[in-house]
């Protein structure tokens, strides 16, 4: 799955949790979920569950800890998809 498609999918997933609309519109690989999108950190676990559901993957605890921004999310999704 290419990067652009993944970013678009992540954008859809984080949309309901995002408090900064403008940052969401400008989402890129460098976007941080908490600092840029102003997502409540408690919601990061919900985002991970939504990612798992969308891509039919399981995100392990170590990966969960790292999934704080778009770049890490892409890496984790791609590696889990490749491992299937």
């Amino acid at each position: 799955m290419d990067q652009e498609t993944l970013i678009a999918a992540i954008k859809e997933i984080v949309k309901p949790y995002t408090k900064n609309e403008e940052a969401l519109n400008n989402i890129s690989e460098n976007t941080d979920f908490v600092n840029d999108l102003q997502i409540n950190s408690a919601n990061l676990v919900d985002i991970i569950l939504d990612v798992e559901e969308k891509f039919n993957i399981v995100v392990d605890n170590d990966s969960m800890e790292r999934m704080l921004n778009v770049k890490a999310a892409i890496e984790i999704i791609q590696s889990k998809l490749a491992g299937q």
Partner: protein
């Protein structure tokens, strides 16, 4: 002299009306909020009639954001938010959107349990080895203090934010605790209230105790019959009530509308000794609670114009009337007017005290006595103590000065509050 405390805001989510205008209209007209409950019928409950506030999704969206409503399954928190935020707005207090908490305002908002439906969901997932799939929403919806935490966040409260729990006196107790916090000078404003979840997992235990009526499944509106000779148990209810308490000084400074004054009250327990048990009241304790409240408020028993009773429609109503009569030393035509809101909304358990206090405050503020419904066949042991004209079955418009409100609860606990018309 003690600091004076007044009520400047009201909110309610009751089975017969959500929001003060609808609720006020309903209690004046004697409209029952008791309905047939298909879920309880499907689950083969003995009692298949209940009282639940009507809270459609578009109403929910006025109190919770779409994100907050995702995976939301705690109706007690929802009812509490509706009542609490309405009371705040009714008091014309601003929703705090500054970065700074409102240090002078807090809440004591009680609950009997929290998010039982949400907890059930979580239990199924945990047992199914899916703990990681619980997400972020379980804790805030199932912690006992959930409702006060949600309200604290919505309103930006910076004073004490807590939840009390004492069975069916929870609502009355929350008001007294809030009152004391203001009297002691530690807060200017306290949102007092309480909420109760609805649903089979709350009500099942009461059904099993055989304290709910099973004789009125075919005619729900006639099912809740406090003080009636044919009372056969309470009708389970749910909802929330909220009252914004404020020091008189603060209310006058803000030029706020004042509904009534709180003169204080008393809480105690019968210690489950004598005739008191986990489920039955020690009469001596009930009487001491009432006289204790009068004494604290500096009010003579003969000055009480009306009683807002606990009166659940179980066999204990007669005993309650007897206890009032002994504590006040009044009977017959000299007995104060007495009202049982549960005749219209059932027994809203941990929320009952708050919803009933809201009704009592409206009575003082506007000068009326709402009708008691379903007691056209007054219990003879009650009419032997209280003259029938003191148990109004029609709306009465009348200036009232002092109302005594009492609640009694499992654990042999009692609370009594004295409310006064503000002058």
């Amino acid at each position: 002299m003690r600091k004076r405390v007044v009520i400047t805001g009201l909110g309610v989510a009751a089975p017969n009306g959500v929001g003060i205008p609808v609720f006020k209209d309903a209690i004046k007209k004697g409209i029952s909020g008791i309905r047939h409950d298909p879920q309880l019928e499907a689950l083969q409950f003995s009692c298949q009639i209940t009282g639940k506030p009507d809270v459609p999704e578009n109403l929910q969206l006025s109190y919770l954001e779409p994100l907050e409503l995702r995976n939301f399954n705690s109706n007690g928190i929802l009812y509490g938010l509706i009542a609490g935020m309405d009371a705040w707005k009714d008091a014309q207090l601003p929703i705090n959107n500054t970065g700074e908490p409102d240090w002078d305002s807090g809440t004591i908002f009680g609950a009997g349990s929290a998010g039982v439906d949400k907890l059930r969901e979580a239990i199924y997932k945990v047992d199914d080895l899916q703990v990681r799939r619980l997400g972020s929403t379980v804790v805030p919806q199932t912690m006992a203090s959930g409702i006060s935490a949600w309200l604290g966040g919505k309103l930006g409260l910076g004073n004490q934010v807590t939840t009390n729990s004492s069975a069916c006196i929870t609502g009355a107790e929350s008001l007294l605790m809030a009152y004391e916090r203001i009297v002691s000078g530690q807060a200017k404003r306290m949102l007092a209230g309480s909420t109760s979840d609805s649903g089979p997992y709350i009500w099942g235990g009461f059904d099993a105790l055989k304290v709910c009526t099973f004789k009125h499944n075919d005619h729900p509106a006639a099912g809740s019959r406090p003080m009636s000779a044919t009372a056969s148990g309470f009708v389970p209810g749910s909802g929330a009530g909220a009252l914004l308490l404020e020091s008189l000084e603060s209310a006058l400074d803000r030029n706020a509308k004042i509904y009534a004054e709180v003169l204080g009250g008393y809480v105690n327990s019968g210690g489950q000794r004598g005739d008191g048990t986990m489920t039955a009241p020690n009469s001596l304790a009930v009487q001491r609670c009432i006289t204790g409240a009068l004494q604290y408020a500096g009010v003579d028993a003969h000055e009480i114009d009306a009683i807002n009773g606990h009166l659940t429609a179980t066999g204990k109503d007669t005993l309650e009337i007897e206890n009032w009569s002994i504590a006040l030393n009044r009977k017959g035509k000299d007995f104060p007017y007495i009202n049982a809101l549960k005749s219209m909304i059932g027994h809203c358990l941990s929320a009952s005290g708050s919803i009933e206090l809201v009704a009592a405050v409206l009575q003082l503020h506007e000068g009326f006595l709402f009708p008691n419904i379903n007691c056209e066949d007054l219990h003879p042991e009650i009419s032997a103590i209280v003259d029938e004209e003191k148990i109004p079955q029609q709306l009465i418009h009348k200036e009232l000065n002092l109302i005594a409100k009492a609640s009694f609860g499992f654990g042999d606990v009692n609370a009594c509050i004295i409310l006064k018309k503000y002058k």
